[in-house]
């Protein structure tokens, strides 16, 4: 067909330039989208990490007991960068007490928390009630657990599965008042288990992390669990009942914990190819629910 004609060179060049421009725009858009997506993912991961840290810190610390009036505290050592304390691990009731070998049975049904550990990780808190009509003389006996039989059967109350704890330091005068003959410990009675823990900063592969260790469980170094954090990305502040800073463990009623996180990977943070590691922080104010 003689009437047919092709594209002119100019038309082709114009089309080519337009296609390059459009393709370039699309490429730019996709690169930007990818960068934004990566950045958002990193920030999301960072915030998720910090939220996890917040939950961990809160659940670890909120059951700490302190009492300024008698100078007693579950906190052993406290600094701006670390905290050494007793963490609650379980609550339930006893279902048998015997002096032979120092045995305390804990009813498994209804017990809340991690099963007691008999390898030294956990200690037993046994509620001692000297006078059942008054509260001022009540104490929690603090007794090391040296063994656990997980297949025991409760000897008091409804028979049921029990953990039979070996508690050698349970003595006769813990059970019976030598003068009045009144019982001091009751079964069923309240029991708790605690574990000595430490929270602090730990460096792993060149980055700082929130670390935790069970000192009673024999863990020598902090285990990184939340991070990475910025340098000095963990801070503890301690406040007493009047909301004034305090250095006395027994006076602490509130612990303010700040976690400053940093993204694990470098991402583009600005225009062009500027890269960096986004940072974010959370602050949690932990009210010690068992402080007096």
């Amino acid at each position: 067909m003689t009437g047919r004609r092709g594209f002119t060179l100019v038309e082709l060049l114009i089309a080519l330039v337009m296609m390059v421009l459009v393709a370039g725009g699309i490429y730019n858009l996709m690169v930007t989208t990818h960068r934004v997506s990566r950045k958002q993912t990193e920030i999301s991961n960072l915030q998720g990490n910090l939220r996890g840290g917040l939950n961990l810190v809160q659940s670890e610390l909120q059951e700490i007991y302190t009492d300024a009036a008698v100078g007693v505290s579950d906190i052993y050592n406290m600094t701006a960068a670390s905290l050494d304390y007793d963490a609650m691990r379980g609550i339930g009731e006893s279902c048998g007490l015997t002096l032979g070998g120092g045995a305390v049975q804990i009813r498994q049904d209804g017990y809340s928390g991690r099963p007691p550990d008999g390898a030294g990780r956990d200690r037993l808190k046994l509620f001692q009630d000297r006078d059942t009509l008054t509260s001022s003389d009540d104490v929690w006996l603090d007794l090391p657990i040296t063994g656990v039989n997980p297949n025991g059967v409760c000897t008091v109350g409804t028979p049921g599965p029990s953990w039979d704890l070996v508690v050698p330091t349970l003595l006769a005068d813990h059970l019976i008042d030598a003068v009045s003959g009144n019982p001091l410990l009751f079964a069923p009675g309240p029991v708790r288990t605690v574990e000595r823990m430490e929270l602090g900063l730990v460096n792993d592969a060149g980055k700082d992390w929130l670390g935790i260790r069970s000192s009673s469980g024999g863990e020598a170094t902090l285990i990184p669990v939340i991070g990475p954090l910025t340098a000095s990305g963990l801070e503890f502040l301690y406040f007493d009942g009047s909301d004034a800073p305090t250095l006395a463990p027994s006076a602490v009623k509130t612990i303010v914990v700040t976690l400053r996180g940093v993204s694990a990977e470098q991402v583009t943070t600005g225009l062009g190819s500027i890269v960096g590691t986004p940072e974010d922080s959370v602050v949690v104010r932990v009210q010690l629910r068992n402080s007096r």
Partner: protein
């Protein structure tokens, strides 16, 4: 002239579709990320609401304490019905009460956030350890304690030997420790030879440790927790009553059931009210009950009235006629200058078991002093 070809193929549609796909992906990604953030935030709110509901359950358990829980069987979970918190948030708590020995309690509260269909969106469980604390404080060293003189006549029996109330399980009582028969800041005068005053020792007279505070301290410490206020100075005979199968605690003349076996009203055996009578003379001429009786005026007992527990009178105590029996302790302040007159054939016997039961039955639980609170995870 150029002719327009209709079969030429362009790229506009392709480019437009590509653009739509890219924009769609961006919008979807943004929407997805936003939705994830929203869901995450909403879940956090739900969890917080559930935790607050659980806290509300704990608070409600202790304030006010339900004294019927004082008699829950030891070592058995008592599941209370769910309580919905008023308002549009659709949250509820369910409380479980577990009584232990020695008056200790473990209260567990499960807070739940529900959706419109009642499905559970979030659950949190908290616990608190509590302990029964008596409504007041009292120290009883005798079956009868008075500030002023006591006159004993007729066939009166006053016995300080520690006794277990008739029909009660001695295993449920603590160790028995005998007390004095009569302890007074003045003297004891006896008329006739038919009376019996016994105890370890039978009498303690001119005891300077007996002061107004001996009576008024306990009186006012219990007064704030009184269950019933009696205004009728000649009340009808007090007997335990029920509403259905439940002890009727709204009946001010139901003072609990101290009896055991036979026709005893079992539902009221664990009910120990604190009954208060104001100024004037309260004349009890029959009936029976248990708990703590506070009389700001005088108390006259006759006609076979029986009481197990603690009686504290700021005025005088007078017995006459037949059968008045008190097992526990009687404190008479004689604040208005009268003497205590024990005539007829009353039997006033010291019982640490009865006193203890009255103190425990009228007690309320409070969170224990150390480490009461726990965040609970069910195994």
């Amino acid at each position: 002239m150029r002719t327009l070809r209709t079969d030429e193929r362009g790229m506009a549609l392709l480019l437009a579709m590509l653009g739509i796909v890219v924009i769609g992906a961006l919008v979807s990604g943004t929407f997805f990320a936003g939705r994830m953030e929203m869901v995450s935030g909403r879940n956090s709110v739900y969890a917080a609401q559930a935790a607050e509901a659980a806290e509300a359950g704990l608070a409600a358990a202790f304030s006010p304490w339900d004294r019927t829980w004082n008699s829950f069987p030891v070592g058995v979970d008592q599941n209370l019905p769910p309580v919905a918190i008023p308002g549009p948030t659709r949250v509820q708590y369910t409380t479980t009460v577990r009584r232990m020995q020695g008056g200790a309690y473990l209260i567990r509260s499960v807070g739940q956030k529900l959706d419109r269909s009642g499905n559970v969106m979030a659950t949190r469980m908290l616990a608190k350890l509590g302990k029964l604390v008596p409504a007041g404080t009292a120290t009883m060293d005798a079956a009868v304690t008075t500030r002023d003189a006591v006159t004993v006549s007729g066939n009166t029996v006053v016995d300080g030997h520690d006794t277990v109330p008739s029909g009660w399980d001695p295993n449920a009582c603590g160790p028995l420790n005998d007390a004095a028969g009569i302890q007074t800041g003045a003297t004891v005068t006896t008329n006739g030879t038919s009376h019996v005053i016994d105890g370890a020792p039978p009498t303690v007279q001119n005891d300077t440790t007996v002061t107004d505070a001996t009576f008024q301290g306990p009186f006012y410490s219990f007064l704030g927790s009184r269950t019933h206020t009696i205004t009728n100075s000649n009340p009808p005979a007090t007997v335990p009553t029920t509403s259905g199968a439940v002890c009727n605690q709204s009946d001010i003349y139901n003072w609990g059931e101290p009896r055991r076996g036979g026709a005893a009203v079992v539902a009221c055996q664990d009910y120990f009210p604190i009954v208060y009578f104001g100024a004037g003379t309260l004349k009890l001429q029959g009936g029976y009950g248990q708990g703590i009786l506070l009389v700001a005026g005088d108390l006259w007992m006759s006609g076979g009235f029986e009481f197990v527990g603690l009686i504290i009178v700021l005025g005088e105590v007078k017995t006459s006629g037949t059968g008045a029996k008190v097992t526990g302790a009687v404190l008479s302040n004689n604040f208005y200058g009268e003497q205590t007159t024990l005539g007829g054939d009353p039997a006033l016997r010291y019982s640490s078991c009865a006193i203890g039961a009255a103190l425990e039955g009228t007690a309320a639980a409070f969170p224990i002093a150390q480490r009461p609170w726990a965040q609970v995870n069910l195994r």
